[in-house]
Amino acid sequence: MKIALAGNPNSGKTTLFNALTGKTEYVGNWAGVTVDKKVAAIKNKYQIVNEPIDIVDLPGAYSISPYTGEEAITSDFVLESKPDVIINIVDGANISRSLFFTTQLLELGIPVVVALNKADIITKRGDIVNGHELEKALGCKVVTITATTEKGLDDLVKTAAHLVGTKQEPLNFNDLDGNNDVARQTWINTILEKSLNKKHNASRVNFSDRIDMVVAHKWFGLPIFFLIMWGVYAFSIEGLGGFLSGYLNDVVFGEVIPDALNGFFEGVGVNPLMQALIVDGAVGGVGAVIGFLPLIMVLFFCLSLLEDSGYMSRVAVIMDRYFKKIGLSGKSIIPMIVGSGCAIPGVMATRTIENENEKRMTTILTPFVPCGAKLPIIALFSVVFFPNTSWVGPSIYIIAIGVIIIGGLLLKKLFVWDNTSFFIMELPEYKLPSIKNAIIQMFDKAKGFIYKATTIILVMNTLVWFMQAFNWKLQATEIQSESILASVGSVIAPLLIPLGFVGWQLAAASITGFIAKENVVATFAVLFAMASEEALHVPGGALSQMFTPVTAYAFLAFNLFTPPCFAAIGAMNAEMDSKKWFFRGLAFQLSVGYILALLITHIGTLIIYGETAEGFVPAIFVLIAYAVGVTFLIKRANHSKTALVATE
């Protein structure tokens, strides 16, 4: 038996889905969180009939005739796969608007139960809903629930299960003439006059509006956003998260575990090469990554609180003002906010954007947002090169916003995109964020992080260890620079000279970073395990001999702003649905990261040390070539535009 959850965005479908199935799908206090359908079996507790029940969570939709890609998923599903019952979630805080979709669902013939959600908000506002009147008017069952506290769910499931096999009577529009959207909404308002008793006058300025006057203010909005982000990043990377990670890295993975393993292996007499493989390769590399677990957990805990409070939807509104200028709208912000966790769901969230150009642009720009996997690199470079400061993490975030805006402008110039889409976002009311939700999301992220470290990172790491321990004749070599890895790295290394990065190790680390960004840290850990007795994370250790602080920062930027990991590149390919745009996007990302690192190295070195950095002359050549190339492309784009206008 298949029960589908359908309703407006942000009405609480996923919250209900999670409550019914025990899953931990993403819940956020804004519209457009779910962009794909999810199916799961109902929890035993709610399995009240013999036939197994499957629950389907759908993206939110305002209407059965879809506007955007994810709305189409919903209407396709209810129209074509014909679920046995539809639970229509109606947002108790927004009843009138939600019922529009309800009236359309009622015409499909599939049995419908209306789940009037957020009953807690209705009660708090002092509104009174007459369920019987509503049932009579709509001709379907209405069950009042509170998804967050799981109140009324038994009743809901029972009602839904009993309806299986019945046929929904179409709506009786009575005195309604015509069937257009306006008439429909008018009809809804008439039935609500009888069944909904609102206590407050809607035009009253409420608490949320008062907060918005400050945080979504024309001038204060952006500085407040920066301050909040600064706080969150400083707290997670250099504050509590950094402190805990430091302990884990230096003591647990730096001393306790390797010492214990070495002692044990020496005691039982394991071959030294095997010992090195496990201790320096596998455990060293994976440990260097897992050491950052507390940092990831603290960050995602904070971000989740911020999101659930409703603040992030305001950020979309604040950024909309600036994004308009580059041909993006506030809609593009949502993929980017999701992308701060992982670029893949971020890229997938671009489905909510109708305008094709805007969608492409967002798909190309979203991976610039530092995702969770990039945090270990940021944190590593921050502790090694800039100890006891708190600006590195936040500064990367600010650079990311800058890169997105400048990158957007450049894309617009390169491809002459004229987007004039406008953006309306429904702002949910502020609420006290749910600690439970934040903890669930935090542990989800932690689980994912550990899993990733013990699968793909472990595999890559072991490979890196082999490649640095053996030469092409497959003989173990003590001298790293004669190893397979060194010779592979040396092929790429010349490309990094204009950026001021010298050493095959840097090339090798960057390459492994494309498989998964955490690999940059793991590869360094493996490579420098022999060069230094100290853990990787100690200032003044082996890593710090490779860089000056300026080139270190540039290398960090290079790894963060070149194309994302393979999996995210795959997601870009899938969402773009055009090989041409996909490759253009990749080339664009690559050039952005490359030029950014180049500029940081050379301008930074000139200003801070008053001298030129390594690779200065090649850099000048690269820069000239780049400028010529970009100018040519822009000229060509403008030319074809004029040609287009002329022929029209």
């Binding site: 496990i278 596998a282 793909i456 472990l458």
Partner: protein, 43 residues
């Protein structure tokens, strides 16, 4: 020699497990973090 083989064997099994999962995730185009939380499961 024998301890080396035992330790190597255990490590080999762990590696095999990691390899199978890593390959599956890369193939299905999922970030590993997602596949455990099922966050981007596609049709």
């Amino acid at each position: 020699m024998i301890p080396t083989i035992i330790v190597g064997g255990i490590f080999g099994i762990i590696m095999l497990w990691a390899l199978i999962h890593a390959k599956r995730d890369l193939k299905s185009n999922k970030c590993a973090g997602c596949s455990v939380n099922n966050c981007s499961s596609r049709k």
